[in-house]
Symmetry: C2
Subunit: 328 residues, 2 copies
């Protein structure tokens, strides 16, 4: 493939606040390897609730705006880089198409760091096991520790033999940091300036809210199977009436209680919650593209559409949509 | 500045193992925002003790080997990117000088993820407060919450008014993961192939051991104020006799019990521990360059030499040293 010409690679942390801990007991611990033990005082000041973003700026971008990639729950920005089967991820794909790219780690994830609980973060973190990820990502019907005994969906486009590679990307998450995460994302959008957001899963609700909070900065929203949407009022939705929305949904939706499109799944289905938000957007005249891949003849996609074997094909469709909307 | 031509940006996770948890109670939690609550089962399989690395490969590298940047304790690979005062960090500096670069997050840090404790990681994590970082990084004599009341070292080259930016990079660490961290680093060196390692602080002992474990892969070691060294036997040191070692030390060493060069500080000084290792290396004929910056007229450097205001000047000296050693 062709080389790409880069102006700069860099990163920053943004958002958060200073927190102070006091009254916790001191103790002795050997912190550095083969070094003298020393007293550890857990009290003091800490920066908390910040997030991290890395940018790669092209020498000559073709798009009007950079793309900000926002990961989903239990993941970090690493999910947008090399795919589990070793191909270039969406970060590289969109760089090659002429977009500057930003890849971030939300509050509590990856390089954003996390804070002591329950003193600063209110709850315990949640670690997602293989079994649950298998189901949530719709890789197959039944998970089994023995790869040979796993029931894989017919035609599935995720390299299920490399499921470990996805699980190596997994990080813990908290259920109590939504407000802090939103604040940091809002500051991030302010700093990045006019931008396109491509967002996966749990990030969807944050991105939709970020657009409401910064309607002049967010120029387009591309949602990959979001798990939720803001509890937004009509006047909020009117603020974002000029922002085109693209929603991408994979295959096997009705084989999962988390994703089922059937009305009887309303209590558990993320899909149906977001579908309701979509209808509210449309009432306010928002330009929404609702792209259920199997309805257009693209079969086999999982929740990790951007890591599936046809990731470039889907990325190309997103690039075309952005071009149609006048953003490139 | 000139553009740089890139062949590829990518990343991978490496190392670690699958762990299984059982017998922990299930509970209900609202995991995704504005989405239905669901049962959380903390039991199951998890990948643990992996590490993360991102690489940037040049279209036409000038050096024979890539540089692997290894962060210190309580930090992630982000420390090598943009400096706190917004200049290009060593990642970009060495890219511009023609080296392919890898920037990693060690086991338990950043995008490497971390595992539940005490079930998988044996101990609690340690969070470094502002006060301790101020002292360990040798920014000044006495820390104070009020920036105007902080006693800053005269001529200090770290932008102390931007100390928050360093603290935003801070992540927790464990004292019980040394063996797992070393295993992952060794696998990483195997995968990266022949390489130069530039390493900071806590990473120093891991890098020195990685060279002993993979003496054909590690072509040079550049230590920035390491906090420790392997407990190595003579036969181990003979294995690495062909690998040039460069040690960089900043200013104000004798004003800190962690870094003092005075014999009476032996019980607390990381410097003296590493100095002992240096002498053992020299007995075995290893080519060691011991570069105490103020002894050569370069004053004001802190523990974060690669983030200090003269970071490019020091990077240039490292580049020259690597060139002299025939690695470029």
């Amino acid at each position: 493939m062709d080389d790409i010409r880069i102006k700069e690679v860099g990163s920053f942390h943004i958002g958060g606040r200073k927190a102070t801990l006091a009254g916790l007991p001191k103790y002795q611990a050997q912190i550095a390897q083969n070094a003298p033990p020393r007293e550890v005082d857990p009290n003091g000041e800490f920066w908390v609730e910040q997030m991290y973003a890395q940018y790669i700026k092209l020498a000559e971008p073709k798009s009007k705006y950079p793309i900000l990639f926002w990961h989903g729950g239990g993941l970090t920005g690493a999910c947008w880089e090399t795919t589990p089967d070793g191909r270039e991820g969406w970060q590289m794909y969109f760089l090659r198409q002429g977009y500057d790219v930003y890849v971030s780690d939300a509050v509590e994830r990856g390089r954003a760091s996390w804070a002591r609980y329950p003193e600063i973060f209110a709850t315990e973190p949640v670690f997602r096991p293989y079994e649950q990820a298998w189901e949530l990502f719709r890789l197959g019907k039944k998970y089994h520790s023995d790869p040979d005994k796993r029931e894989v969906f017919a035609g599935v486009r995720f390299p299920t033999n490399l499921f470990d590679k996805l699980m190596m990307q997994a990080v813990p998450r908290w259920s109590s940091n939504n407000a802090a995460t939103q604040r940091a994302y809002d500051e991030y959008v302010e700093k990045a300036g006019p931008c396109i957001i491509i967002v996966h899963s749990q990030g969807g609700a944050f991105a939709a809210q970020a657009a409401i909070n910064n309607p002049d900065k967010v120029k387009a929203l591309v949602f990959i199977e979001p798990t939720g949407a803001p509890a937004a009022k009509k006047e909020d939705l009117r603020k974002i009436a000029h922002i085109p929305h693209l929603y991408l949904w994979g295959d096997y939706l009705d084989q999962s209680p988390y994703w089922s499109t059937r009305p009887e799944a309303a209590a558990t289905s993320y899909y149906l919650g977001v579908d309701k938000y979509r209808r509210a957007l449309e009432v306010e005249g928002v330009d929404v593209t609702w792209f259920v891949l199997p309805e257009t003849g693209i079969y086999g996609n999982t929740h990790a559409i951007y890591q599936d074997s046809n990731s470039n094909e889907i990325a190309s469709a997103v690039d075309s949509w952005l071009t149609e909307k006048g953003l490139k």
